[in-house]
């Protein structure tokens, strides 16, 4: 039983990593007033670019860097449409997800054709800072990206609440007119926030292909981006609460993987659907208390 719990905790941290990275990204976008539904596609392109570059350069680090660059570019495209042109955020975000998904699949076909077995790479090694120590050893046996994602939570918090740039991001998301009057360049700050957001989302996707799986499949993201959108609401746009949300979802996901093999007499699809249903339920419970950033979904125009 102890092994069960230790395994569950370790798996929770692992499953939560891509969600945490991408959710922190979405947090930047939404705090600046932009709902970025391009998240699913940005994670997908991150997973794809990370994989293909790592495979061709034989360097996981280069792959990760390329994925982040692709993510930043995706964020910039979102900024072009939703910030400068003022196009509906819903539609431009979904359009970007469709575009990036199509581009990644096109690229995959071009590079690998239609392989029977998905191509694989040697993924990142895990760090084991606690070695063979009982309990801790197994729990801390994680990828470096997991530690980075956890460390990003206080970093994001500091940047959002204790730095001038964070104040500006929150200001343009809450009341862009007032921020503009105070001399903040609304367009530039939103562009910056979306670029950071894209990089984090793509890093989340790359975690899946470069660390957790070591391969790229068409279903690699499978709606995780949409879960992240829900986690931002659930976490009330606060980095620490977002961490709890990601861990909760990671926990449910890790639990369902274990329930699948536990011999419970239920179809395994029930367990697969469980995290999504829990997310909807959590939203329904937390929905009433959600305080959306004031200017979310509203394009800003200088008149």
């Amino acid at each position: 039983m102890d092994d069960f719990i230790i395994g569950l905790v370790a798996a929770t941290l692992r499953v939560a990593t891509p969600l945490l990275l991408a959710t922190l990204g979405e947090l930047y976008a939404e705090r600046a007033g932009i709902l970025n539904l391009g998240i699913e596609g940005t994670m997908f392109v991150g997973a794809f670019v990370g994989f293909v570059v790592a495979d061709k350069t034989f360097s996981l680090g280069v792959g990760l860097a390329a994925a982040i660059i692709a993510g930043v570019l995706s964020g910039m495209l979102m900024a072009l449409l939703s910030v400068w042109l003022g196009v509906s955020q819903h539609v431009s975000g979904l359009g970007i997800t469709l575009l990036l998904t199509g581009l990644s699949l096109f690229g995959f076909r071009l590079v690998y054709g239609e392989p029977r077995i998905p191509p694989a790479i040697q993924p990142f090694e895990r760090l084991s800072p606690a070695g063979q120590v009982p309990v801790l050893g197994a729990i801390l046996d994680q990828y470096a990206l997991t530690y980075i994602a956890l460390a990003l939570v206080p970093v994001v918090w500091l940047m959002m609440y204790r730095s001038n740039i964070g104040l500006q991001i929150r200001a343009v998301g809450e009341n862009p007119e007032a921020a503009d009057a105070a001399g903040v360049n609304v367009f530039r700050i939103r562009f910056l926030a979306l670029s950071i957001a894209g990089g984090l989302m793509a890093a989340g996707g790359a975690f899946l292909s470069l660390a957790q799986l070591g391969s790229f499949t068409y279903g690699i993201i499978a709606g995780r981006g949409w879960v992240c959108i829900a986690l931002v609401i659930f976490g009330n746009w606060h980095p620490v609460k977002v961490l709890w949300g990601a861990l909760l979802f990671g926990g449910v996901f890790a639990l369902q993987l274990r329930l699948q093999v536990s011999g419970l007499d239920l179809p395994y699809e029930t367990f697969l659907a469980l995290p999504y249903l829990v997310t909807i339920l959590a939203l329904a419970v937390a929905g009433r208390n959600a305080t959306y950033p004031g200017a979310l979904l509203k394009p800003y125009k200088r008149e």
Binding site: V87, V91, G102, W226, I229
Partner: protein
Amino acid sequence: MKLRIERAAAPLWMRPLIPILAVITTFILTAALVVMAKANPLEAYYHFLIAPLSSRVSAIEVLVKSTPLLLTGVAVTFAFSAGYFNIGAEGQLYAGAIAAAWLGVVLESLSPLIAIPVMLIGGFVAGMVWALTPALLKVKVAVDEVVTTLLLNSVILFIVSYLLNGPWRDPVSGWPQSPEISASATFFKLLPRARLHLGFIIGLLTIIALWFVFSRTTFGLKMRATGLGKEAARFAGINVNRTIILAALISGGIAGLAGVGEVAGIHFHLIDAISPGYGYTGIIIAMLGGLNPIGVGIAALFIGLLTTGAQSVSRALGVPAYLGDVVQASLLLVTLGAFVLQNYRIHWISGKALSPPTTGGFSERETKSGT
């Protein structure tokens, strides 16, 4: 020389040209991908746009591909017009397909005159049921419908997978597909030696229904008023919540019909790949069509052409057919941009002439005649 951007609507003669310009821009942007696949872009465009129309078989195939797109396009238009962002047409399509696969087997002994209407109603209701939860959460607890509809799209795929690997697995072949629907539940063909089926007529009828609701009913007016602004609509005495729920349910029902059509007209089984994303493409179509019935119809036919064309490009030139997805998504983004940019004009101004102190960069200025 300076660049100044002014707000001024494009002249009337230019308006019909904008979609054409958007298509040309999209093809120029995506030419790089064709070159990367070691093919000639001009040849690719030929296969995209002309080749599908050059033979009877493939021209009919364009209409076959347009059939589910007409329905999902209309479904999305209904919801979006009321300001309800139903991104769940994909899931609602699957709900309709599940209902059709079940009814198609159960109704074996009935005449087609009864079986087919029952299948259509069943698929419509199934789509409505799948659309109900997000709509209720939206109006009761203010949960964003975008997230819930997207999450439910994932959930229904698990239900389909469960049905096909469990109770519905084809007992004859053992494949993960439901038993074949009975002949009496099969949609009749519209033309000899082609798979164009009743669903296409239903698609056209929903376009007419959309036009009728928008232009001839008070409900259509309420929907669009709600879409333009909930507060103002509420102030005008419209029951906004009721309008949103109704729009969401109709949207889900029509998306469900798309699923019925694919089962009863094309596959005759439920399979997990019954839709390659028709629900999401419906969003592209609704936006390209400007949420306007005729526009949506034209957009659905055009995307049907592009989908057929992508397969033609793939067969003839070896370019991955995903190029079609990229072209569709790019076309959406370019068109969205073009709709905004048509309201601006760029002026070149020589350095000395009329130069008010510029604030630099992208500053907007109302022209005096502008508004």
